[in-house]
Symmetry: C2
C-alpha cells in the first residue's frame, strides 16, 4: 500500500500533510532533493515532531567534499549505513578531530562546532538528524539545491546559482567557513 499526499513541499509526498498521522515510507521514497552530487531524502521533519527533530539520509559518490560549516543552534548526528564517510570536527576550544566512519559508526557535532565531511567510498549513505531548541532545518538541502522525483544520485551534479549562497544558508542555520583549514590529516 502506498499513500501519497499533497503537502507544502511536494505535489506527491509519502509524508502526510496532517501532523499526528502515523506513516511508513519504503526505502528511498522520502522527499528527495539533489545538491551537488548528493541525493538527500527526508523521512520526517519539524512539521511531524512539533519541531523537536527530523530524520533524513544523504547518499553520495566517493570524493564529494562538503566544505566546513557551522550551525549556531543545531546539533547534528552522522550515522553511517553504507560505504565510508570521513567526518572532520572542531570543538569549542579549537581542537580538531577527524575519523573515518563505516557502517554502524556514529559522529556527533554540537552546535557551534565547525565540521566537514567527505564520502570516501561510492554508494555511501549517512543517516542524519539535525535539530536543536530553535527547530529543524531539513529543507535546507532542497532550497539550496533542487527537489527531485528521481531515485538515485543526480546524473549531473546540481550546482546552485551563486546568489543562493548569499541567502539560503543563513535561513537554515548554516554558515559556511570559507577559509577554514583542517590540520588533522
Amino acid at each position: 500500500m502506498t499513500i501519497e499526499y499533497a503537502t507544502a513541499h511536494r505535489r506527491a509526498s509519502h509524508i502526510p500533510a496532517e501532523a499526528g498521522t502515523p506513516y511508513f515510507i519504503e526505502k528511498g521514497d522520502g522527499d528527495r532533493a539533489h545538491l551537488f552530487g548528493d541525493l538527500i531524502t527526508i523521512y520526517a521533519g519539524g512539521e511531524q515532531t512539533e519541531n523537536a527533530f527530523n530524520f533524513f539520509t544523504v547518499e553520495g559518490p566517493k570524493g564529494n567534499l562538503i566544505p566546513a560549516h557551522v550551525h549556531a543552534d543545531t546539533y547534528e548526528v552522522f550515522y553511517v549505513t553504507a560505504g565510508a564517510v570521513r567526518l572532520f570536527v572542531e570543538d569549542l576550544h579549537g581542537n580538531q578531530q577527524e575519523k573515518l566512519l563505516t557502517p554502524g559508526d556514529f559522529g556527533f557535532v554540537p552546535k557551534n562546532c565547525p565540521h566537514a565531511y567527505r564520502m570516501e567510498r561510492h554508494h555511501s549513505q549517512v543517516v542524519g538528524v539535525a535539530a536543536g531548541p530553535g527547530g529543524t532545518f531539513e529543507r535546507f538541502f532542497e532550497t539550496l539545491g533542487a527537489p527531485t522525483d528521481q531515485h538515485g544520485l543526480p546524473r549531473d551534479a546540481f550546482v546552485p546559482a551563486p546568489e543562493k549562497f548569499a541567502t539560503v544558508p543563513q535561513q537554515y542555520d548554516v554558515r559556511f567557513l570559507r577559509d577554514h583549514q583542517w590540520k588533522t590529516g
Copy 2:
C-alpha cells in the same frame, strides 16, 4: 583512538560527560542495556542536544513481541538497518495499520498513537529516535532493564522485576496498553 568518560550513566562511556563536546562512537560502543531479549545501544541523548532528540539502536532476535504502548509526549522513528521488523500502529481515530519494514524502510509514530513491533528475522536492528517537546526518554530501556558492558544480545533474556512495571514506564512517558488488540493481521 578511543576516549572513555565517567558519566551520570556509566563508569566508562563513549558519550562525553560534558555537553557541547564533539565525539565519535564506533559501531556497538554506545551505552548498552539489556531488556528482555534485546540489546539497546544509546549513541546520544537529551543531555547532548538540550533535550531536542536522542539516537539509539535496538537489536533483537526473531520473535520478540514488544507489547502495545503509547507515549503522551513523544514522537518515535523506526528506521530498520538489518533484518525485518513488523510495526503496528493505530492512529488517533482508531484506524490500525501494520507493515513489515526491511533495511532502509521507515516508520513514524506520533505521540498518543498506540504501537507495537516484532522482530521477524534474527539479527534485526532498528535505529530509533524518540523525543518531543517534553524531552527525550532514552534511559527507559536500562531503567526497566539493566545496563551492560557486554556487546551482543543478552545470553539469557533480562526480565524486569514485576514492581518495576508499576513505576518505571510512567517516569519515561511509556504507558503499556495491556488489553490492546491488533486487527490488522
